[in-house]
Subunit: 360 residues, 3 copies
């Protein structure tokens, strides 16, 4: 098995995705570091989703909550966010608290030492001295991966969880999206063969990129990418889907595809990534919004998802439609991150045992 | 019994205070949501004050501290403050920690998703996915109440505690003020029939408004509102006191009223609410300050209160006077908020049992 | 024994260091308040260093971690930083979490009440109402000491730990530096008689001042202060070292002294203390940096330390040299602060007992 600490940064960077995934994993195949969505194959996804469901069931009782908090009370985690995000931050914080893990945090680059000229590598290496896990969200592409490698060379090679790096990777969002899709269809024939329609800012949204990647683990998914021309999905994503043997369709006509969808995945126009001011605002997005009219075009058994936060792309009146899943996504996010952290510390067997002994 | 989830926002908003209070309560009459001071009648005040005293006594022993932390270790609270306030924030944080509740926090609107255009309702609904209780302080009048209603319509109708909304409501400050008054007079004939002299910025201070409201639960209180003319108490407060059958007096002469007071409640000029810059600074406040001379005019058994923070309206030399209660108010605030949160999770019976079994 | 509460501020301020240290201590000689490095004599340093080593050993097992967290689970600490510093902040946070202490924090003056005109004394007195310990870092020289005195006059005289005040004192950094030096030389003849070469911004760095002071507790240390002329060590430090009977040398030639050093203590140019913009940038610091060439000039058994954060004064290539101790300093800082806090709450005997019963 390939080990991360055996590679120089140059040789590691040149590896293909599968070899990188091996470097970032434990011998049992579950990730040690969670860096990019492609690390998760079907086996890992099933194991994490099952664990998330066991954990949420265990947490319904006081005794179960006590068990969960006793799993990792002796561990401490750093939640290091230099990009603002209450949602993802609090989701990870909740996951840690459920497992009894104490936390330290940075939620804003300016309160740190960095203004004194310290490099990010030094900052993160300092955190590894104090904590057993680092959950990080930063603007710089690839920083989480680089830190995982850097720490593997040190005496404190703690696991890293990428909570969103730059414009390209947000693996745990993809995990919660998969978990939500699985739960929505598990008693209705499963996720295989479904049509997933992604809508909105597909050029810049990292959630769509990661979700499409993970969906290639389920047979027969048809991926439909619907966006204004200026925000169309990148060719690399289309290539990745097709290389996995799945159908990838592009369109600018959301209304036409709504009746075909098993799942509609709405996204927000990510104007914080605009290269020039007001760039996004000039795009006509009126035909890429969901209101009650659009919900009428969708199948009764379809679901509507959104990674949140939303602006006007889903009208608040839609919230009470039983097919609206986005608030459930939030809750699922907490449980799947709890499962991921428990897995990172190799606790899933104990979780499974407790569930079988007490709740099955 | 009226239930919040049975009402549309428009119908709820049109209800009178008593009906609103019922919507916000549990069947046992104690609040589920804590939104405005008027929810607390004499029975609720007595129950909370007794609980606060039991809790502070229990917390004096290591075993008692362990019991308290075991009450709600399985619960998690969000402390959401978009208005800066270390004092109130830390008071609620302390209350949660005493009860074993893990916390997440937002202490500044700018670290949240909101800059991405998310509505406050969506933010708070997200928090309800992660937490079992939301304690909130915001600039917008009525937001806490609206969120309580909004969550009652959702699958996660968690309780809300209003830690201060806009310029009008700060119910837990009123609770700690009542608790302080009760404790100060409990071995000296009680709170009934006392003269309470409020001094300072009575136009804009929300603490005076809420305290006067709660004091109408005690028979025979005489309320004296002393302020510079530009900061005089609002007519609505005078009307509320008189409608409750109590005496309300207004004056601009603090010196004349000091010898009549059982309790003097000083307030700070709230210039953060100025409509134009420097508006408050032009008011002559020299005759509305307390120093050692003013303390000499007060009765030996009188007390001096202040919600803090203070600027120059109480001189530091006064701190060592045994009648200065404001530091005790801070401590009482922590205990009464602990009692309130324990009550919100329906734990007061267990607290009372422990106290009777171990400490009475 | 002198007691802090017996003195007025004026009389206390006029005391010599030894008398001040007595006022700040417990009857057993260990500090109650940790304000300045000079409070620690050899006996206190040995006791703390031994405790830090016991604690880190105990923490290697799950049962040991549970024991440590049970020591002070009933206590609560305020970490009050108005100067940004993630490293020191997280170090203290970690120390508290290891001991089970719940924490509240302020990491930025602007989120507090202070903008409303409250004095720092009032803020800190409020914290003492909620917490059992205050760890503080502020810009104002002497504030921690003044607060210790101020609280001693109140009903809640909680202990204060100075996490760095102004430009002059940073006692816990000195403790971790001493601990690092002790551990590095303990199996090689000890710390006595060693040559310590301090390099860099010696005029403004408070860590050098405090470390030199503590090193005078070890016989025969030779202190060599190497700096650009504009950043030379203050005469008061030279006088303090010589008054303790130790050799103090000044030099501008780092290269000449590297082969003589047992320990090289590098520091960063502290431009945040510049009196005029760009003042430091005009100083030639090229001969005061450590790279692999410089490491070759150092003895095999020497060590290289740095309080961090670093900029370019130590090249990253040096990190893998076994003599580079600065990452170990970070870890040692967490353990020594844990020992200090345990000591502040008089727990060192229990720690020692557990260690002897389970791990010796």
């Amino acid at each position: 098995m390939k080990r991360l600490s055996d590679f120089s940064w140059e040789r590691y960077s040149a590896l293909g995705e599968a070899d990188k995934a091996e470097c970032l994993s434990r011998p049992d195949g579950m990730p040690f570091h969670t860096i990019f969505a492609g690390q998760f194959g079907r086996a890992q996804l099933d194991r994490l989703c099952d664990a998330a469901t066991q954990i949420r069931t265990i947490a319904k009782t006081r005794a179960g909550t006590e068990f969960l908090r006793g799993l990792l009370f002796h561990k401490r985690a750093m939640i290091y966010f230099t990009q603002p995000s209450s949602r993802t931050f609090l989701s990870f914080l909740s996951a840690c608290q459920i497992l009894g893990i104490s936390t330290g945090e940075v939620r804003d680059a300016s309160v740190s030492s960095e203004f004194k000229g310290e490099s990010r590598e030094d900052s993160i290496r300092t955190f590894s001295s104090y904590f057993d896990l680092i959950v990080m969200r930063t603007q710089e592409k690839g920083l989480a991966e680089r830190m995982a490698w850097s720490l593997s060379q040190s005496k404190r090679p703690v696991p890293i969880v990428n909570a969103g790096s730059g414009k390209d990777q947000h693996p745990t969002q993809a995990l919660l999206d998969i978990y939500t899709l699985r739960r929505s269809f598990e008693r209705r024939g499963g996720l295989e063969g479904r049509t997933v329609v992604y809508v909105g800012d597909l050029a810049r949204g990292r959630t769509v990129r990661s979700l499409a990647r993970l969906l290639t683990n389920y047979a027969g998914i048809r991926h439909v990418f619907v966006a204004p021309p200026q925000l169309a999905i990148g060719d690399d994503v289309l290539a990745m889907v097709r290389a996995a043997g799945q159908e990838a369709v592009t369109s600018t006509d959301m209304a036409a595809w709504l009746p075909e969808a098993d799942a509609v995945y709405m996204t927000r126009i990510q104007d914080e990534w605009d290269e020039s001011a007001g760039e996004s605002a000039r795009i006509d997005t009126s035909r890429f919004k969901i209101g009650t009219d659009e919900m009428r075009r969708m199948r009764p058994g379809a679901i509507l998802m959104h990674p949140l936060p939303r602006r006007d792309e889903i009208a608040p009146e839609v919230d009470s439609d039983p097919r609206a899943m986005y608030w459930r996504q939030v809750r699922n996010g907490m449980w799947i991150r709890t499962a991921l952290i428990a897995s990172t510390f190799d606790c899933l067997s104990r979780v499974g045992e407790y569930w079988r002994d007490n709740l099955q």
